[in-house]
Symmetry: C2
Subunit: 172 residues, 2 copies
């Protein structure tokens, strides 16, 4: 999975073949097929590994009575994970093949629904949704943008968190 992670982050999912993953590991394709029945399963396993880091904080956010505090909890962790996995984020979020695959995977959909509900509450007016979409995009893209490629993880995290807090305040 680490080999797949590196190749997916580098070339994207569709442009990465099982042969490439096998070569990177020094094994054959057949060995990979013993662990994963299809290429899709590798993508799903990788996605679940990424989202696992949000599990506990999402539980905590759902138990938190104050919405702003719940949002703050989630925001910090989401930024942490996004910065740590800068290069994979866009691949998993924006590759149409991956998006479709994950959309057909119920556990993933349920998780995302929980995440947005914890962030948005039950408000669902147009302005709130556009704002949420923008914040989500701002994080996803900010961590992988060429403009910030040379900024250290720590500094990027701090800047992002500060900017996001100001963006969130715009809506309170």
């Amino acid at each position: 999975m680490d080999a797949a992670y590196r190749l997916f982050a580098d070339k994207g999912v569709s442009a990465t073949s099982l042969q490439m993953i096998a070569d990177a590991m020094g094994v054959t394709k057949a060995a990979i097929y013993y662990q994963f029945k299809t290429k899709d399963e590798i993508v799903i396993a990788l996605t679940e590994r990424q989202l696992a880091g949000l599990e506990d904080v999402l539980d905590a956010a759902e138990a938190e009575p104050s919405r702003p505090r719940a949002r703050e909890l989630l925001l910090e962790r989401v930024i942490d994970i996004a910065v740590a996995d800068r290069r994979l984020v866009s691949v998993l979020q924006f590759d149409p093949v991956v998006v479709r695959l994950l959309a057909e995977h119920p556990p993933f959909q349920q998780f995302i629904t929980r995440l947005y509900r914890a962030m948005l509450g039950d408000e669902a007016d147009t302005a709130a949704r556009v704002h949420a979409a923008m914040m989500s995009g701002a994080i996803s893209v900010a961590v992988m943008h060429p403009l910030v490629a040379d900024i250290s993880d720590e500094e990027l995290k701090a800047q992002l968190l500060a900017s996001m807090r100001r963006m969130v305040e715009l809506r309170e």
Copy 2:
């Protein structure tokens, strides 16, 4: 190119074969190869067609002495184009294969450099760059996010412009 546009937007570049494009057009692959020497050329031609809509407003922004007004000009047009081509935006911006291809295409690089200079001026401190990356991401993703899939172009444009203006003001 319209057929390629639709397929790229739907499946991404790597997952779209020349055969699919040919089938969608009702011609054979050989007919496409007569027009474009390689698949990459199709991607570049499509990208140039998208960016052509920014050409005149970028000229105008560079001639504009007031930076905030230049930014406002660019912002409006960028949002217009992004909303109009909702589905293609992420494919061209985030597919690692496309990103690499365009990075090796000097005319594209020069155009992007001009665009960022017109937006950022010569300030290049960390905070300004992170902020610019976030704004760029906010637009790119906001137009294609599932949360906003059912919002009309006109309403989405208005909301995005309003949100972006408030984000920009945070930095003035």
